[in-house]
């Protein structure tokens, strides 16, 4: 059981950071020799679920990705054809990749910045904090329902509040929804608007930073900004990282907001045709489930690679308090 003994510097093991130090390692080796069956009892619901509802369906989709499957007739083995078609013959595939990347690159930082900014603001509020917290979370309660999509369209349309407000400060954008360059940003703003979940996680992280640190810094004459840079940012980096990874994964799979705003077709002229929207169109609307499955597996691999890269870079900027404290 090699996973227990080897540890990389920026540990990626499920049981890494909090424990740290050497003494526990001996303790751990002892536990390895302990009975294993209780663990499997704890895991049994998950194992059943993972096997029947996740692993098996995933395996089926992997199999289907090598077939021509129209949902009605038995799947027909075609080898790598779906993959080659995707890479070499389908310009829409690459356009959807581009649109999705644009979305991820814009939406994730924006949403996290928003969530962090509001969390910082809320942290400094004394009275009324819980009211504000709830109120800021309110948009996230709504999901991307049909009515929210309609409201969004109304706000971003010609003469809608957003273009009007931008007009006051001299920016003339016209309506966003019917504009092939701007429609994608209307979708971005819808997701950014619902920043509640990362905000809550940031708030939790901020509260975990010991006030002593700030007091000490204040005594040393550090200003607000200095405190933010040298205390908040490093202390919060694990939480930032956690949010970053989850938001990135979720953004690659963005579906509902774009589906709702574009009415399901990723329009106008494919400008909001995100990866999963295209996957959905191929799989269910056009009944090419084999192709859609191949797309899903490419997405899975891409997300895994990008997540791995994030972890790679995290070593240089994520600061683990536990490791420091354990020393």
């Amino acid at each position: 059981m090699s996973t227990v003994s080897t540890r990389s510097p920026a540990s990626t093991d499920p049981d890494s950071a909090p424990e740290g130090g050497a003494p526990q390692r001996t303790g751990r080796r002892r536990t390895v020799r302990d009975k294993q069956w209780p663990a499997y009892v704890f895991l049994s619901p998950w194992m059943i679920g993972a096997g029947v509802l996740t692993l098996a369906p995933m395996a089926v989709s992997l199999y289907l990705s090598f077939t021509d499957y129209n949902l009605f007739d038995p799947p027909e083995w075609v080898g790598l054809r779906n993959y080659t078609e995707m890479f070499t013959e389908d310009p829409r595939y690459w356009r959807s990749v581009g649109t999705t990347l644009l979305y991820v690159v814009v939406a994730v930082p924006l949403k996290l910045a928003f969530a962090l900014g509001v969390a910082m603001l809320l942290k400094n509020l004394g009275r009324g904090r819980s009211f504000y917290r709830s109120a800021f979370y309110a948009p996230s309660l709504l999901g991307a329902s049909m009515s929210i999509a309609l409201v969004w369209k109304a706000l971003f349309n010609d003469g809608g509040s957003v273009p009007e407000a931008l007009g006051w400060i001299g920016i003339d954008t016209g309506g966003w929804v019917g504009n092939t360059d701007l429609a994608v940003f209307a979708v971005v703003l819808l997701t950014v608007w619902q920043f509640g979940a990362p905000m809550v996680i940031f708030l939790a992280g901020l509260q975990q930073i010991s006030p002593d640190l700030y007091e000490a810094a204040a005594l040393d004459g550090a200003g607000r900004w200095r405190q933010f840079v040298s205390i908040t940012v490093p202390m919060l980096s694990p939480v930032v990282f956690f949010n970053l990874v989850l938001e990135t994964i979720q953004s690659f799979q963005v579906f509902t907001p774009a589906f709702a705003i574009s009415g399901g077709d990723g329009g106008p002229a494919d400008s909001t045709n995100f990866y999963t929207l295209y996957l959905y169109e191929r799989g269910f609307t056009a009944s090419h489930m084999g192709y859609a499955s191949a797309m899903a597996w490419m997405l899975l691999i891409a997300i895994a690679v990008i997540t791995a890269i994030l972890f790679r870079t995290s070593r240089s900027w994520v600061f683990y308090a536990d490791e420091e404290g354990g020393r």
Binding site: M1, P14, D15, A17, E19, R28, D34, P38, F42, L43, P45, W46, M47, G49, A50, L53, T54, L55, A56, M58, S61, V118, L121, L122, N124, G126, G128, Y132, A135, Y137, P139, L141, L142, G143, S145, M146, S147, I148, L150, A154, L155, G160, S161, A197, V200, I201, L203, A204, Q207, L246, Q253, F255, T276, L279, G283, S293, A296, L299, L300, A304
Partner: protein, 278 residues
């Protein structure tokens, strides 16, 4: 005076930010009171005339199923999902966070990987499973997966939380002769309450808003949820009723807003408090 201004500043900023942020919600609310011809065309926030009949129409429900029934169904599913997620995800998380077993790394990696697969492609295989089990058109496909810890996000969240808990208490419990189950139930679980509350709140909200799964698995209108019924209001291939749809969508979010306002203080407080204080 300067100090007073400084103290007020965050409040002012928060209030202003909120104003912008809640504007779309105000729009939603206002639209739910607009007459039919204004719903989609009017560019004014304020309705030309308050159309309360949107609400009376919405309250009649859909296809003869009352709004009360629809809300009841939704609460039932959401509650089942909450119980399922809290139980099963905390069980799995405890194993991942605290116990040693073969293939742990592999399983954990797999669990995280399931976050990355678009769910549309596993939809049909999953449907086949539930159909074989005779569970289509019951609430099982919506609730059972939660009892089987299929939502990796929460397993992940609770694992992360449990790993932050000090081990001393558990160690001493073990020295006192507590087995893993006793330890889990009477020590780790209570300490993890904050993470569990977070799980519960998110599960409730997300289940409430999850239109897709409900749409696929439910057939009989009397089993429909409020989210599902909301869709029936607008059928683009026939005449639509946008006003009542907006009214119903306001009605449908009220319960989660209420739920959230009651429990939200546990949410943040919970996620922040480290084990001993919780």
């Amino acid at each position: 005076m300067n100090l007073a201004v400084k103290r007020r500043l965050p409040h002012v900023a928060a209030a202003l930010g909120l104003l912008v942020l809640l504007y779309p919600l105000a729009w939603l609310l206002a639209t739910s009171l607009k007459p039919a011809d204004e719903v989609l065309t009017s560019l004014d926030l304020w309705p030309g005339k308050l159309e309360w009949s949107n609400y009376t129409t919405a309250l009649e429900g859909v296809s003869g199923i009352s709004v009360g029934r629809l809300l009841g169904n939704t609460v039932l599913i959401a509650t089942g999902a909450v119980i399922g997620n809290v139980l099963s995800c905390s069980l799995a998380a405890y194993a991942f966070a605290r116990l040693r077993f073969r293939m742990r790394g592999v399983m954990f990696g797999f669990m995280v990987a399931t976050l990355m697969l678009p769910h549309h492609v596993v939809l049909i295989p999953q449907y086949i499973v539930f159909n074989q089990l005779g569970m289509v058109d019951t609430y099982w496909p919506l609730i059972l997966p939660k009892f089987l810890a299929t939502e990796a996000f929460f397993v992940f969240l609770i694992v992360q939380f449990m790993r932050g808990l000090p081990r001393e208490l558990e160690e001493s419990a073990r020295i006192d002769g507590c087995g893993p189950f006793r330890t889990y139930w009477s020590i780790t679980l209570p300490l993890s309450r904050p993470a569990l509350i977070t799980t519960a709140i998110f599960t409730f909200i997300w289940t409430w808003n999850d239109f897709f799964t409900q749409m696929i698995y439910l057939f009989a209108p009397e089993k429909f949820t409020i989210t599902l019924a909301l869709r029936s209001f607008v059928d683009t291939s026939s005449m639509s009723a946008y006003g009542p749809m907006f009214a119903m969508s306001v009605i449908s979010v009220l319960p989660i807003v209420l739920f959230f306002f009651v429990f939200q203080r546990y949410l943040v407080q919970g996620m922040a408090t480290s084990g001993l204080k919780g």
